[in-house]
Structure formats: structure tokens, C-alpha cells
């Protein structure tokens, strides 16, 4: 039997998810499904205060302490710092604690029940120091809680000269201030790892994670071991959304330290409250806008002050801030832009990566500001945007010349058509004038999201992907990119199969294991498809070139001929492998000092429309309908792509209207799924998705990035719709009923 050559395209078709069968039968192995002989269970004793000096640690009565493995900072063989960007965050606090839930002591025992009891029996006495909890307090240096001035990182973007614009008499100046709250990723599988560690064999960690090589790098420092002595293996991962980008380095280190000391395999699985309270959340933000527009509705100047709360340690704040900064001026052309961005320290647990990575925060502010400016100009929100959409050949805030084909006005028209925007906008305006207590509104947001690491990030990463063909002709993709639900396995197999004109089932994706896959970089930043996928494509093509170069394969071939060529090649030469390393597309230039240049290889472009109802009696705002229109290059897998959009929009609905982290002295007070309110099946609106497909020449089969994009648009679109329903331009999220009541209460009759 031989497949027809040049079979119908695999890219663009809804092929079955690679690990789908395993996930519906219970066969998929997540980290807590792993058991090793002699394995013991770890637990973490944490600070209950925000800032202070550790005075004493007491191991209470009623626990057979001699049976437990106990690890403190003194047991660390290498550096007591989580290696990420800076080395400021300890694995275990030794003298000072800087946030609630900071780890201090690790415990392990074979009996899970006993280890929980032991954790309750450890008392850490901490002399409190004055903490800082808000962006304002931190910026005002009420206390210096980090470094010299509480500042993890700042950026300045300067394009043109905004200062010359403010005094012009042909411009209108509009100012605004916008806030966003923390948000918990709330993957359903909590963080967890299993570790084996000893001096002979080194350290091996299995875990739920997005970035095996981040963990690898961190463990090298923690144990002061050569890299070949550290092995990190990703297990099936029950969601990440950024929440398993940097934190696994912490929990993996903890489990490995316990394993190192006890000589036994150690498993640590966080319970939900610990995961919510102690691990990272989305950075809260405060953005101030000052915008100058000409009377004919053209942007003349944008001055943006963007500040995020990074929590107690630097973690990834510099990079989150960077993405937020670059997206802060949006998909508009403006000749003069200044963005002052800063990540500041507070005594909250460190904030970190979460889908969108700073962009949802700054885009929320920008889109609300754009609505405000339009109102000041007496233009419709859409007309104001149409006059300012960036076009091919124009420059972004970082002076990146847009070279790809972009048609924001076209996307806007499509989104309006699919959502019935204009008809509804008019109808709601009429209906809202009536006496009904339920008001309706429709609103939108227009935005872009850069794919891949920012600026020179991809160049520094130097990502590598391998492809190996076995003697039976099966192709194995070797990459560190993780499947976390978004479909990495499936799209990589599609890309390779398409490139080699082989059947989808002939391609497999190897499990990310630092012992066997090269470092293709982290699974973040909407880079997996566009950046790593492109490497998959070229590594796959490398296999074919090798076979053709060896004269074993014709230019045009059948699957059987491919198998035969692989068999003959491996017989003669052994393993048939091909590797591909990242090269920046031509003309991509980035200046890190001036924060200027080509921030991203490509952008995804989108227009989202939200329809809401607001009950003026109960102040309940609900999203009734949602249309998401985007251009993400070629769509590799329509069902997975739509799934990314739908899931992201649902998270965006939560971000806008439901998900509030309740803080008490820097400590999360609602770290439960009953009172940290993520939307249930009854709270998510219909989400209708449309893709415009404009193939991107440097992406695999023409694809760009997609994963983070849907997080950016919902919140501003929803608040814009709430504005139509209520007449109030709200400026913060989450927008809770009590907030609506506060503004609208007096308007009640």
C-alpha cells in the first residue's frame, strides 16, 4: 500500500490531536500520576507575614522529626537563588522574608498525612518589618523593599518629540488613568514535580512545566553541578498559561533539595490554596495616558506612563514590562510617542508570566483611552481608530516599520459585519433610553500582539530543533517546546508532515527531556508555532535534503520510497538526524539601549467585539455575545486555533468581570476555587471566532503566533460595551458589581 504522493494538504485541516486518545482514556501521565520506588512526599513551610526578619524556627511536639527530611537554606549545595534574569530570589529564605508565602523550610516523609501534620507543627517566628503593598507606595519609596529604589526595571521609548506637541494650538489633549488587577492563571493541574538527586547521578526532575531548559539552568546553579548532571523531563501538563513558565524552577529545586538530602525520590504537589497563594499571578498595573490629537482626529502625540507591580522579587518582571511597553501604543500610527515604563517592587508574592505577558494590561489602558479620545473629538470609536490604524510601511512606537500586509480597517469591517455591530449599537442606544432596567451595550477593541521573544530575545535564545527519521521512516521531532494543552504536538507533526509530504501519522513529537531534545527555548510568548514551528519545518526539510543528497530519494517520492530511503540511510550511516537553528529574518534590527527597532518578527492583528447586558438593579454585568476576528497568518489547525481563541476570551471575560484577588496584608485571602471566581459553563458567552488568513513568509506554512492574542482584547471590548450600556467609562478591571453600584447608584430611580 502506498499513499498518494502530494496528498491533500495537512496544514489547515483538523487532524486528531496527537495525545487526544491518551487524554480521554486516563492513560496520559501527569506528574502526580508518577510513582517511583521509595518515593517520599515533600511539603513547604512558608512565611505568613509580608516582610520581616526570621528570628526562630520551632519544630513542634507530636511529630517524629527524626523520621522526616528537613531542609533549610543551610542545606543548599550551590547558590541559594533561582536563576532566571537576576539572582535575587532565594530558594529558601534564611534571614529575611520579603513576601507572604515565601518558602523557609522544606519537609519530606513517606506518609503524606504525616508530612502535612509536620508542616502544621513548624512555627516560624518572624519580626515584622514595614511592608509596601501598592504601586503608589512603592514608587513613593515609602519603604525601600528592593534594591536602591524599588525598581526592577525601567524602559524609555522615545519616538519623535512629544514635548513639542503639547503646546501646539491645533491639538486636543486628553488624559486618563487606568488600572488592572492581579489574575491567577488557575490551570486545573496544580504545580508539581518529582525529583531524584544524588552526587553520583546528579539531578533528574519530572514535572508539570512550560520550559524544561529554564528549570535545567536553575538547577545547575542551585546544585553547582555541570549541565550534563541535570536532567529535566516534562510530564503531561494540565495547563500553564504562563503560570508554569518560571515557577517550576522553584518547586523543582525544592523537590531536588529534599531528594538530595534524603537520598530518596521526592514528589511535591501543591494543593490548590498553596498554588494560588504562593505561585505567580498576573502583574497588577497602573497606566497614565496623555494623548494629543489633531482636530481631524489624527494622533499627534502619546505619552504613556506604564507601571507594573512585580511583587517581591525580579523574576520575569523586566520581560513582562517589556512586552507591555511595546504594546502600549497599539496598532496605531503616531509620529510622537514617549513611553515611560517601570516595574516596581512590593511585598506581594512575585507576579509573573500569564498569557499576554504585560500586553493585556497596557492594551486595556490604551483601548479605554482611545475610546475616551474619540469621545472628546466627538467621533465614533471606530472612525477615530480608522483614521489612525497603522499601515504597511508606517512605524510603530519603537519605530519598527510594518512590512507585513496589515489591514486593520478590513478586520474591523469584518468584525462589525459578523457581530452586527452597527445595527446593535443603534438599537441599544434607542432601547437604553427607555425605562427598562437591563441596559445593553456593544463595544470593541482593536489590537495587535507580537509573536516570539521581544527585540533581540530570539537571537539570544539561539533555539534549536531536531528531527530524526528512524529506519521505518517515522519522523521524530526533538524540541523542548511543551504540549500544555495548546496543541504543540499536533501542529509540529502537521508542519513536519506537510514539509515532507508524509502522512500525519508518520510524525511523532518526542517528550521534552533535556537529555534528548535540544534547547528550542521556552514555551511562551506565542513563539511555539511561529518560531519553533519554523525550525521544525526546516529541520524536517533537512532530513529530506540529506536523503536526496545521498541519492536515496527522488525529488518526488511516495511514502514507501521515503521509508525505503530512511531504511537504507540508517543502515549505512546510523541515525538520520537534522537540526535547525534560529536565524532572524532579514532586516530585523533591535537596539536594546534605545528600545528601538523591530520588536517582533511579526504581529497578529485582531478586532474583538463584545456585547453585554448590565442590570441596573443588581449591577450585574454579563457578556452576552462575543465575536473575535483575527489575522494570525496561516491557520495550521482550525479547531486548535479556535480553541486557543475561545479559551483566551473566556479568561479575558474573567479578567474583566469576575476574577479579583482579595489581598490581606499582601496575602491572598481568596485562594480557593469557590471564592476566586473563574467563569463556569454558565458564565461564558457564545464566542464566535473568525480567522483572516494572510500567510507570513517567515512562519511555518505561513503561520504566526496565536496563544496570547485572545487575552488582550476582551477586557477593553467588554468595558467599552459597558460604557454604552451605562454611560460610564470605567477605567479599571476587574469591574465588579460593587464598582458598578458605586458609579451608577445615584442614577437609580
Amino acid at each position: 500500500m502506498s499513499e498518494a504522493r502530494q496528498q491533500s494538504s495537512i496544514v489547515g485541516r483538523p487532524v486528531p490531536r496527537k495525545e487526544g486518545r491518551a487524554k480521554v482514556t486516563g492513560a496520559a501521565r501527569y506528574v502526580d500520576d508518577l510513582t517511583l520506588p521509595g518515593m517520599i512526599y515533600g511539603a513547604t513551610v512558608r512565611s505568613t507575614v509580608a516582610r520581616g526578619r526570621i528570628k526562630n524556627i520551632t519544630f513542634g511536639e507530636g511529630v517524629p522529626w527524626d523520621e522526616l527530611t528537613v531542609v533549610t537554606a543551610r542545606d543548599i549545595p550551590g547558590a541559594n537563588a533561582v536563576a532566571l534574569i537576576l539572582l535575587d530570589q532565594p530558594y529558601l529564605a534564611s534571614e529575611f522574608v520579603n513576601h507572604p508565602e515565601e518558602p523557609i523550610v522544606l519537609l519530606a516523609h513517606p506518609d503524606k498525612h504525616l508530612v502535612e501534620r509536620a508542616r502544621r507543627a513548624v512555627l516560624v517566628e518572624i519580626e515584622p518589618l514595614p511592608p509596601v503593598f501598592t504601586i503608589e507606595e512603592s514608587a513613593a519609596k515609602k519603604e525601600i523593599v528592593w534594591g536602591e529604589d524599588n525598581t526592577f526595571k525601567s524602559y524609555l521609548v522615545e519616538k519623535g518629540n512629544v514635548d513639542e506637541v503639547w503646546s501646539r494650538d491645533d491639538v486636543l489633549i486628553v488624559e486618563g488613568e487606568y488600572r488592572t488587577g492581579a489574575q491567577e492563571q488557575l490551570y486545573i493541574e496544580t504545580n508539581g514535580v518529582v525529583a531524584v538527586a544524588n552526587a553520583d547521578e546528579g539531578v533528574t526532575v519530572w514535572g508539570s512545566m512550560q520550559c524544561p531548559y529554564y528549570v535545567h539552568k536553575a538547577l545547575i546553579k542551585l546544585f553547582d553541578l555541570p549541565e550534563e548532571k541535570i536532567r529535566v523531563i516534562q510530564t503531561e501538563t494540565g495547563g500553564g498559561f504562563g503560570g508554569k513558565e518560571e515557577y517550576p524552577s522553584m518547586i523543582a529545586g525544592h523537590a531536588a533539595l529534599l531528594a538530595w538530602k534524603s537520598g530518596q525520590p521526592v514528589k511535591i504537589i501543591y494543593d490548590r490554596a498553596e498554588d494560588m497563594a504562593a505561585t505567580t499571578k498576573r502583574h497588577p498595573s497602573l497606566t497614565r495616558h496623555r494623548t494629543a490629537v489633531t482636530r481631524d482626529g489624527k494622533l499627534a502625540a502619546q505619552e504613556i506612563e506604564f507601571t507594573v507591580d512585580g511583587g517581591a522579587y525580579a523574576t520575569l518582571s523586566a520581560v513582562v514590562l517589556s512586552r507591555g511597553t511595546i504594546h502600549a501604543a497599539g496598532p496605531y500610527y503616531c509620529p510622537n510617542v514617549r513611553i515611560n515604563a517601570r516595574a516596581v517592587a512590593t511585598n506581594a508574592p512575585p507576579h509573573g508570566a500569564f498569557r499576554g505577558f504585560g500586553a493585556p494590561q497596557s492594551i486595556f489602558a490604551l483601548e479605554r483611552q482611545m475610546d475616551k479620545v474619540a469621545r472628546a473629538l466627538d467621533l465614533s470609536a471606530e472612525e477615530f481608530r480608522r483614521r489612525n490604524f497603522i499601515r504597511e510601511g508606517e512605524t510603530t512606537a519603537t519605530e519598527q516599520i510594518i512590512r507585513e500586509k496589515v489591514d486593520m480597517a478590513g478586520l474591523l469591517a469584518r468584525a462589525f459585519e459578523l457581530s452586527g455591530y452597527e445595527e446593535k449599537r443603534g438599537r441599544f442606544a434607542r432601547e437604553n433610553a427607555g425605562r427598562g432596567k437591563v441596559k445593553r451595550g456593544i463595544g470593541f477593541a482593536t489590537f495587535m500582539h507580537g509573536a516570539g521573544f521581544t527585540g533581540s530575545g530570539e537571537v539570544f535564545l539561539q533555539s534549536i530543533v531536531g528531527c530524526e527519521a528512524s529506519s521505518d521512516g517515522r519522523v521524530h521531532i526533538l524540541a523542548a517546546s511543551t504540549e500544555i494543552g495548546q496543541g504543540t504536538n499536533t501542529i509540529f507533526a502537521q508542519i513536519a508532515a506537510e514539509a515532507l509530504k508524509l502522512d500525519y501519522d508518520m510524525v511523532e513529537v518526542s517528550r521534552p527531556d533535556t537529555a534528548s531534545v535540544p534547547n528550542s527555548g521556552p514555551t511562551v510568548a506565542s513563539r511555539t508555532c511561529m518560531i519553533v514551528g519554523k525550525l521544525v519545518e526546516s529541520a524536517a526539510l533537512g532530513l529530506r535534503q540529506t536523503l536526496q543528497g545521498a541519492g536515496l530519494l527522488a525529488e518526488v517520492y511516495t511514502a514507501d520510497e521515503w521509508r525505503e530511503a530512511c531504511r537504507r540511510h540508517t543502515e549505512r550511516h546510523g541515525a538520520l538526524k537534522s537540526f535547525s537553528q534560529y536565524k532572524a529574518p532579514p532586516d530585523v534590527v533591535w537596539d536594546d539601549g534605545k528600545y528601538r527597532g523591530d520588536a517582533y518578527g511579526a504581529f497578529a492583528w485582531a478586532v474583538y467585539v463584545a456585547e453585554v447586558s448590565v442590570d441596573l438593579v443588581t449591577y450585574d454585568a454579563r457578556v452576552e455575545d462575543f465575536v473575535a476576528v483575527q489575522e494570525v497568518g496561516r491557520v495550521i489547525h482550525p479547531v486548535l486555533a479556535a480553541g486557543q481563541i475561545e479559551g483566551g476570551v473566556a479568561q479575558g471575560v474573567g479578567y474583566a468581570l469576575y476574577e479579583r484577588v482579595a489581598w490581606r496584608e499582601g496575602r491572598m485571602a481568596n485562594s480557593q476555587m469557590t471564592n476566586y471566581i473563574m467563569p463556569t459553563a454558565l458564565d461564558v458567552p457564545p464566542i464566535r471566532v473568525h480567522f483572516e488568513e494572510t500567510p507570513y513568509p517567515y512562519g511555518p506554512a505561513g503561520a504566526k503566533g496565536i496563544g496570547e492574542l485572545p487575552m488582550d482584547g476582551p477586557a477593553p471590548a467588554i468595558l467599552s460595551a459597558v460604557e454604552q450600556a451605562t454611560g460610564v467609562a470605567f477605567t479599571h478591571i476587574p469591574l465588579m458589581p460593587e464598582d458598578l453600584m458605586k458609579e451608577l447608584g445615584d442614577a437609580r430611580d
Binding site: 487524554k23 480521554v24 482514556t25 501527569y30 490551570y187 503531561e236 486548535l640 480553541g643 473566556a650 463556569t680
Partner: protein, 174 residues
């Protein structure tokens, strides 16, 4: 101290008689995962707040994190491992795998069992009925929409109807 004193139960597990001994204060979730090595049942909160650990107890969905193992004595327990039979996957498993209803897959076993319970009582549920029935299961990946579509498609197939997903469900709005 170490659960020396063990409880012992006999029950029907995925259609077969089973016996197991375990520490008496263990939940059914812990017994399934730790004492029977059936790790298909997942846990998301262990406090009854997410629906992830749902299994069927005498055909009815329960949260295994809040049922004692002891309470399974003499009863019938079905987990995700028991959904497929010799003839192959359950229609819900087929559609969850193929239509994007399972992304990270971690909440999937719970959804499958609750959906199975729904279809046992209602072979043609409306979208609203599906939402209501699944409202105790949290999913963070999908926004639920592909899950509804998978349940609808499985229900149709179980009614003996030839059905594929509508084009819009696969390719989005056109």
C-alpha cells in the same frame, strides 16, 4: 501512625469485582489513585470546588475527593478508565479527543463522566441543558464551547444519527 489499621472493601470497579485495603480515612480519590493505581481520575482542589475528580457512583456523578473509600463498599464505581470497552472508545471519548474538547486534558475525565451521566438521562440535550449539567466542572483551557460541541456530537452518534460537526464549529465564522 502510618495507617497500620487498614479498611477493606469489595465493590464493582468499572464493571468488575474489586477488593482493596487502605487506610480508613482515605477518600475514594486517594484509594483509586494510590491503592488501585487508577490515576485517570484527577484532582483539582480536593475540596469539592472544581469537579475535576468526578466519578460515577452507582451511575451518579460524585466528587471522589469528598467520598470516603469506605463508602464505595458494595457499590459500583466507574472511572475514566472504564469508559471504553472491547468495541472501542465511548462516543464521548471519541468526540472529546477529536473536536478540541480536551486541551490540556486534565479536567477531561471529570467532564466525560458527568457528560455520560447526562446522556444516560437525556439522549438529546439542548445546549442549555448541557451547560447546566456541566456547570460543576471547571475548565480553564477551552471556554467550554468545544466541550458542548463534543457532547452534542456524541449524543447524536449515540442516537444513531450520522453527524459531523457543523462547518462553523470546525473552521469558525466565514
Amino acid at each position: 501512625m502510618n495507617g497500620k489499621q487498614k479498611a477493606h472493601i469489595e465493590f464493582t470497579l468499572n464493571g468488575e469485582r474489586a477488593e482493596v485495603a487502605f487506610a480508613p480515612h482515605k477518600t475514594l480519590l486517594e484509594v483509586l489513585r494510590e491503592d488501585l493505581s487508577l490515576t485517570g481520575t484527577k484532582h483539582g482542589c480536593e475540596l469539592g470546588e472544581c469537579g475535576t475528580c468526578a466519578v460515577l457512583l452507582d451511575g451518579r456523578s460524585v466528587l471522589s475527593c469528598l467520598v470516603l473509600g469506605l463508602d464505595a463498599e458494595g457499590r459500583s464505581v466507574q472511572t475514566v478508565e472504564g469508559l471504553a470497552d472491547a468495541a472501542g472508545l465511548h462516543p464521548l471519548q471519541e468526540t472529546f479527543a477529536d473536536t478540541g474538547a480536551a486541551q490540556c486534558g486534565y479536567c477531561t475525565p471529570g467532564f466525560l463522566l458527568v457528560a455520560k451521566e447526562l446522556l444516560a438521562h437525556n439522549d438529546n440535550p439542548s445546549r442549555e441543558e448541557i451547560k447546566e449539567a456541566l456547570s460543576g466542572n471547571l475548565c480553564r483551557c477551552t471556554g467550554y464551547i468545544k466541550i458542548y460541541e463534543a457532547v452534542e456530537l456524541a449524543a447524536a452518534r449515540m442516537r444513531g444519527e450520522e453527524m459531523e460537526l457543523p462547518r462553523e464549529a470546525v473552521y469558525g465564522l466565514e
